[in-house]
Amino acid sequence: MAATATVKNGAAKPAKQLSKKQLKKLKMKRKAIILGIIVLVVLILSFFAPYFVPNDPYASNPTMMKQPPSAQFWFGTDHLGRCVFSRVLAGARTSIFATLVLVIISFIIGTAIGIICGYYGGAVDNILMRITDILLSLPQMVLAIAVAGILGGSLTNALIAIGVTSWTSYARLARSHTMRIKNLPYINSCRLTGSSDINILFHHVLPNLIGPMLVNATLEIGTTMLSIAGLSFLGLGVAPPAAEWGSMVSEGRPYLQLAPWTVFAPAVAILIAVMLFNYFGESVCDVANDV
């Protein structure tokens, strides 16, 4: 590291003060990278989980019902004699990837709507933003329960139910950034050179707001995961016997006093996953803000 650093006025600052600032940046970046690696490992593990589960997560066995954790069944067995550890691993794929799919779709739809509203304004902006206001004024989980109840219980329907409202935060954020960006001089210059709106939006507006949008998306992962688990817990998510953390908590609830591990294992998995993604999101946010 350099002993000195120059600032705008060209005067040398004490090396100690600059080092602290740089050290802080480095720490933030390092934290984000480490968390990113952990998240990546979790994603890879969950994606390939069905290939290395120790037991068949769907095979019932009446002779092994409600067995406590052991060498054979690390997290014990459930009321149908199924390996809870295998089901938690199998459930990771469902829970995490369903969350990512929903976040990505919400991100794309919300950002697109936000950019259109922010750039064109007028009646389109008014209509779409009032719809957004209405959706934001409704309790998201209650609305999701109502929509999932109408559509019926399945993972796809649960994602639709949560997705009805989840795009709104992206739309709001994208709109405000677009409104700021579209008045910048270089956008006006683009217009003067005859660039089309599509060209301006894709090549000049979108790249300048994608950073904060991605940060917002990473922060939403934890919340979305809890929403999906919540709907599954209520029987409005995956259809049995599919392994999904929320539905596993629900299935294990009647056996809480006899086999608490059937509830604790998926509940702790939800807790760890949500904390990990939230922590990662915050780290990315810190780095982005600092940049």
Binding site: G222, A239, P254, L258, A267, L271, M275
Partner: protein
């Protein structure tokens, strides 16, 4: 930013704490089973408390199925009742005698029977109760053809217009209970009836409290009051029992049976086979006969039952096989034959899945989460998948509002009391007859309808049994129904509680004058 992160983490920790605290509470309750009485909040030592699973908005026993609840509470009573051995015995009536023609029955009421307001029950009032039931409940429209004639205050005749062999069974149906139609001003919240208890407070779709009927005709009533809390969640009921908030409840789950049986010093467990069957309709409009037959032949009912010990017993028939009308049976399990049936219809087992015309054989199991039906569906799904039929589960909120109405299903689970009054007619009219509510699998036909009609008026018992078996054999041979199990009525009672009709196979019997609370 740090603050934001801190807030989010704190929020997550709170969620985790709530989750873990909820779980921990359950565990503590188990340990505290012995000390449950310390948290009891009973107002009196002589109050009986239980729970009601279903939320309903009225107590009017002539409407819908509300009488099943009012009779369980000790509010209403019928002319006859079904005892623990499933035999009919007089209750408000002294006797019922049918003449040789089989169409005129003379009923004599017991002396001293009166309503909770002290007004005696007369044959004229019985007649008016018949009329009100016919007016209020479509299921009893057939009684409109009957002529009921009071002979004197305590005697009346019923002329059914044609031989009607199950007249006494009908007198035991909970809906045909006796109300004081003159004195009752609020049928929804406070019907005046003959039971050992009368309504004190009733919250529609909520709790109900009844107090002792001091004018009870049947002798001393032990409890001062009876309360049924509205509680649909099994876990809430379990914890209410463990906390000492309630004295007894029935229809406990398989896991609760296991839990209560671990503490025999605190709880008494009673189990009696009900006449409630769990079964699945197989839609003949969606599934070819070969597939329905193969599923009937491959199912292992015992394996399914083994996962929920005490909850039910495996059975393949709608009626008990030890009854004279329960002789008809579906084919026994034979997996090789099941495969032969499918292969004869052109299905080929390829990579563990039966294929025909390049398409895998798939079925959808429509089910709902009640009385372990969703768990049964999961286990059947596993058996079907192992056999080579790809099965998926469609979990519905309620069968009656979905596949039982629109018939949009392939295999649809249902449960019902199949032998309500010691006679097969209930199920025959419900599911086998073409106009029945439960005829949702496409079986109903004119030939069987004619047999059911013949059965309805057949007086000779041997001939009736023969007819019942013939009808049911036709039904089983259509492979439109897959009977799975016979539910047990499981009741848990705190030590000291007695006479909650815990040995009666029908859940519409509960509190009586002899019921004693735990204290």
């Amino acid at each position: 930013m740090k603050k934001k992160w801190f807030k989010r983490t704190l929020g997550l920790m709170m969620v985790a704490t709530v989750l873990l605290t909820g779980c921990g509470g359950g565990s503590e309750t188990t340990e505290g089973g012995d000390g449950a009485s310390t948290s009891t909040t009973s107002a009196s030592d002589n109050d009986f408390k239980s729970v009601e699973t279903f939320a309903y908005g009225s107590l009017d026993p002539h409407v819908d199925y509300y009488s099943w609840h009012s009779q369980k509470y000790g509010l209403t009573e019928t002319l006859y009742r079904i005892n623990d051995d499933m035999q009919l015995e007089p209750w408000l009536a002294e006797s019922a005698t049918t003449d040789e023609s089989g169409q005129v029955t003379t009923v004599v009421l017991k002396d001293g029977v009166c309503f909770s307001n002290g007004t005696p029950l007369t044959s004229e009032m019985v007649k008016r109760n018949f009329e009100r039931l016919i007016e209020k409940n479509n299921r009893f429209l057939y009684m409109a053809d009957w002529t009921i004639t009071p002979v004197d205050d305590k005697t009346f005749t019923i002329d059914t217009g044609a031989p009607y062999p199950t007249i006494v069974n009908d007198l035991a149906t909970p809906e045909l209970c006796m109300l004081d139609l003159d004195a009752t001003t609020d049928f929804v919240s406070n019907p005046i009836a003959t039971g050992p208890f009368k309504v004190e407070t009733f919250v529609p779709e909520g709790d109900i409290t009844l107090v002792r009927n001091d004018n009870y005709w049947g002798g001393e009533v032990i409890c001062d009051s009876v309360t049924f809390y509205s509680m649909s969640d099994d876990q809430s009921k379990l914890m209410a029992m463990q906390n000492g908030e309630i004295d007894a409840y029935d229809n406990i789950t398989s896991s609760d049976i296991e839990l209560f049986s671990q503490d025999p010093d605190t709880y008494d467990l009673h189990s009696v086979p009900m006449q409630m069957r769990g079964y699945a309709f197989m839609n003949s409009e969606r599934l070819p006969e070969s597939v329905r037959q193969a599923i009937t032949l491959m199912i292992d009912r015992e394996a399914i039952a083994s996962f929920m010990p005490g909850m039910f017993t495996a059975t393949a028939t709608i009626f008990d096989t030890d009854t004279d009308y329960g002789v008809a049976q579906p084919p026994a399990t034979d997996v090789d034959k099941a495969r032969a049936v499918l292969e004869a219809d052109g299905y080929v087992l390829t990579n563990g899945v039966y294929m025909k015309d390049g398409q895998p054989l798939k079925v959808t199991l429509a089910c709902y989460a009640s009385r372990n039906i969703d768990t049964i569906a999961v286990l059947l799904q596993e058996q079907l998948n192992a056999f080579g039929i790809q099965a998926e589960i469609a979990l519905k909120e309620d069968p009656d509002g979905t596949y039982m109405t629109d018939r949009d299903y392939e295999i649809g689970f249902y449960r019902s009391i199949t032998d309500k009054t010691g006679d097969p007619i209930t199920f025959l009219e419900f599911a086998v007859q073409s106009s029945g509510y439960g005829n949702v699998a496409g079986f109903g036909n004119e030939e069987t309808d004619a047999l059911i009609q013949q059965y309805r008026y057949e007086m000779d018992e041997a001939k009736r049994n023969e007819l019942a078996n013939e009808i049911m054999q036709q039904y089983y041979d259509s492979y439109t129904i897959l009977v799975l199990n016979c539910y047990n009525r499981n009741t848990v009672m705190r030590k000291g509680v007695t006479n909650f009709n815990e040995n009666n196979p029908y859940e519409f019997y509960g509190v009586s004058a002899a019921t004693t609370p735990a204290n």
